[in-house]
Symmetry: C2
Subunit: 551 residues, 2 copies
């Protein structure tokens, strides 16, 4: 017999959860103490809960398994919600362990008392549970892991009253068996096979597991056999890219361009992807991005085997055994001179190490990243699935813990970085091989575009001031050094290249602050609002030409 | 006629809300644009939502009026929840403005879509509303302000769909009238008057508005007339202290000492304070701190006039017109030599400027602050009302915005500071006169005590590692400079005194990192768990002697 906390830890390990991202408080002290009896559980301390939850997301993206988080009551969960939102949208498994007051303490409404379950439903709509005894706790833990694993993967939240942790009388619970996900129904395969027939203007919109190496290869076999086109969702959970992989373009973020990109299809087949919709709504603009009259079918239902279903479809359409047209090596030349955001993307494309993991939260500064890294060595891209900024650095932490033998590159925007910058400390503490590039343009640049997209024409000083990060300027090299991460500033492409090479060659974390203009590609960002108005109203060939030029 | 956002801003101004702490995104762009038409609204940009919500809390504590926050959908609210929890526990008014997708966009379940209202209920259980048209928005805004003002003050959350902001056809709504809070019932006054009669061992437990200068003076008049004792709640929203005020001790944070402190009473009268309970529960220890057989009465019900009720009680017990025994000037001598946490508190007591506002989140390092500042010039103390750390720096921002003519001192612990360190950037941007002292002991020191209090006897390396912040060490001077705040490190009392004097004399923000041992008062913190065990079991005179010695 063991304490509830000891039995919970053993249950997590038996269920395949061996990593925990923590920011504990008093109500979690028995869980912390039980770490001494469970040396197989790696506990990674963070200074802020959003780092812990984002790291669990990154870990799950790279392993397919949940990490646990350890959070302190309602406020600790609150601090973790933004990145749990991204994890929920990523469809990855995460098991939150949220400590609560002892059951007999609740009636005193002590200062830290709050309605944890209600807050948790924002990110864990399907599975929130509060066992009230030590005996119940391990079983609930095993169920939390199963619920998180799905499929589909989800965020499960286990609220743990302190007395359920500290009381004796608990036994580890066995893992909960999960069903093997089935492939898509035969009827669905038949329908989709008709849609992708040669001559039909069909797009396969790939998301989720369809963007794995295996998924992409099966999808490309289908495209080879039928002429259907492949297109990827805007913000993939994890996308296999680079040499030897099928190269697939993502739908542009901006709805105006996305509409143009999708206009060529009469049929759209969703493969583990949502029906394409505008990220935000804009006055007078439709949110739905599906062209008028275009049919939409889903190949897989939630919980079905995406890769298996793609393979089955490939066989059904008589595809050849292997895909054609895989990406060949093709790196950009190293640029020179003063940095721009595009040059940063070129330097990354030129130097990216093999099997790198890119955590991409570069926002406006990263628009040209896909084109410049398409022909880089094989790598994985992790994107901002839920649109909640502050994700990139924590996801990089989790990816580095998950894959200690792979280099991790975090591409960060200045504004986004400041939400969860505490991730740098954990990188230093755990000696993670993460290279952080901060593209510092001293503004919330995307909002300058959005202000005009939502219909605001004449922006005054007071409004513009809300998007400006230049007063005072943020010095990311000082911030990094303050958390134990060596850091340098780069204002030229040459310095950036030299420092990136050094960072990739040395173990442990490094930060390079890349100083870029706030209108990074000159014409491009400044001209964007005007171009978007033209694209909205122009005949299709003109709109397509502008879109090809700009994204 | 105006857009919904314009009419909402005018409504807020008409209702007395003229300050807004912001971290906007696309769905808030019309609100941002409307700032140009509402120059009376001060918009203070923050880099993280927890800074915005904590600043609104600090602002409300000092003005008695709500500030608005401007937050971006569910994740933005999530990032703000921890400090909204503290604001809820402080009983102060806050009006959250949370942007949401346009009403017609919700059905597309775009990436940032989530259940905002549910998450908001964690901190706004009484008032969450989502108007769906521009015409409804201003009226809902006026009601939000009234709901926030109460009394009692509370967090009201107004969810604003983007189209309700951008649509035309709205008119500003008039302020919602609020009732004047009544004084306590005559029956209650009569009952309490009997409890405080001379010879009864009665404690008046003061909280909320009872800790204002006026409240304290009325309470002291009652004590003078009846022999009742005054004691203050553990973590006051705002407490008037220093020369010329009645000096009142707070109940100790640690339940063991609190029980001893309260054991002397046969009657306890709650004055805008909760029934005293242990902050956390501990195995085998009762949560209730009220002595066995002690009666408990509340002088005021929620929404009643605390200061007026105290004055009425003073009159009823025949108190003299003015209080006696007001605090006289009595500052500690400036200490010398290597810093300890107690020496930091002594330096603060020796140098605190007149009318300072102290935002206290020094945790274990601040235990001796009350004794060393009791005889300082008049000042206000703002404490960690909800126990959710990361409050001190944001509250200092809000207090400085509220009171531009008063010096603000933020006493911070290293662990707590790292939750919302982004507050430093707003201090620099707004040139706020805030002096930040970080007491850096390189650990979550309180948790070393709590580990043992919850009954963990033999702590191993893996558990201890979860409480350690020394690897890598945090360099707060680098972190501060990275956000534009001048900073120095102090390892001796002399340097700290010199740098504090300089910081108080110069305008704008300053940070001093005070390097202190992790067992700050040597004997005291290390011996604490043992002392607590003795206090739990010892006869009362011994327990009282230890308590007097230690808190």
């Amino acid at each position: 017999m063991a304490t509830g906390a000891q039995a919970l830890l053993q249950t997590l390990l038996d269920s395949g959860v061996d990593t925990c991202f923590t920011n504990p408080g008093t109500s979690e002290m028995h869980f912390v103490a039980a770490l001494d009896d469970a040396p197989a559980m790696r506990a990674v301390l963070t200074l802020f809960e959003g780092v812990a939850t984002g790291a669990a997301d990154g870990y799950a993206r790279m392993t397919g398994r949940p990490a646990a988080t350890l959070l302190h009551l309602g406020p600790g969960l609150g601090n973790g919600l933004a990145n749990l939102h991204n994890a929920r949208r990523a469809g990855v498994p995460v098991v939150n362990i949220v400590g609560d007051h002892a059951t007999h303490h609740a009636r005193f409404d002590a200062p830290l008392q709050s309605d944890i379950e209600t807050a948790a439903r924002n990110v864990s709509p399907d599975w929130v549970r509060t066992p009230t005894t030590a005996a119940e706790l391990p079983g609930a833990g095993a169920e939390a892991v199963a619920a998180a694993m799905g499929p589909p993967g989800r965020v499960a939240t286990l609220v743990v009253p302190a007395d359920a942790s500290w009381d004796d009388g608990a036994r580890p619970a066995p893992p909960v068996q999960r069903p093997t996900p089935p492939v898509a129904d035969d009827d669905v395969l038949a329908t989709v096979a008709r849609r992708v027939r040669r001559g039909a203007r069909t797009g396969l919109l790939l998301g989720g597991a369809a963007l794995s190496d295996e998924g992409l290869r099966a999808a490309r076999r289908i495209a080879d056999a039928t002429g259907a086109e492949l297109v990827a969702e805007v913000f993939p959970t994890r996308m296999a890219r680079g040499v030897g992989r099928p190269s697939v373009e993502r739908i542009p973020y901006l709805a105006e361009f996305a509409k143009v990109r999708l206009a060529r299809y009469d049929h759209l087949v969703l493969v583990d992807a949502d029906r394409p919709a505008s990220f935000f709504a804009y006055p007078g603009a439709p949110s739905d991005l599906v062209p008028r009259g275009c049919t939409v079918e889903a190949l897989v239902a939630p919980g079905e085997d995406t890769v298996g279903s793609l393979a089955a479809l490939a066989d059904r359409v008589g595809a050849a055994a292997g895909p054609t047209g895989l990406q060949v090596g093709d790196r950009p030349a190293l640029p020179t001179g003063s940095l721009t955001a595009e040059k940063v993307c070129q330097v990354v494309g030129a130097l990216l190490p093999e099997h790198a993991i890119i955590s991409d939260e570069a926002q406006t500064s990263g628009v040209t990243l896909p084109q410049h890294t398409a022909g880089a060595p094989p790598h994985d891209l992790l994107a901002l699935t839920g649109g909640s900024i502050g994700q990139g650095l924590p996801v990089a932490v989790g990816a580095a813990i998950a894959c200690p033998d792979r280099p991790v590159l975090a591409l960060e925007a200045d504004g986004s970085a400041m939400y969860t910058l505490q991730a740098l400390w954990t990188m230093a503490r755990e000696e993670l091989d993460v290279t952080v590039v901060i593209l510092n343009n001293q503004s919330y640049a995307i909002l300058n575009v959005e202000l005009q997209r939502v219909g605001v024409r004449d922006t005054g000083d007071r409004a513009r001031d809300q998007l400006d990060l230049s007063t005072p300027p943020l010095d990311f090299t000082a911030l990094a050094r303050g958390m134990g991460v060596p850091a340098v500033r780069a204002e030229s492409a040459e310095v950036l290249a030299r420092e990136l090479e050094r960072a990739f060659a040395e173990p442990g974390p490094h930060l390079v602050e890349a100083v870029v203009p706030s209108d990074f590609t000159g014409l491009r960002l400044k001209a964007l609002p005007h171009a978007l108005r033209v694209v909205r109203n122009a005949p299709r060939p003109i709109a397509e030409a502008i879109t090809r030029r700009l994204v």
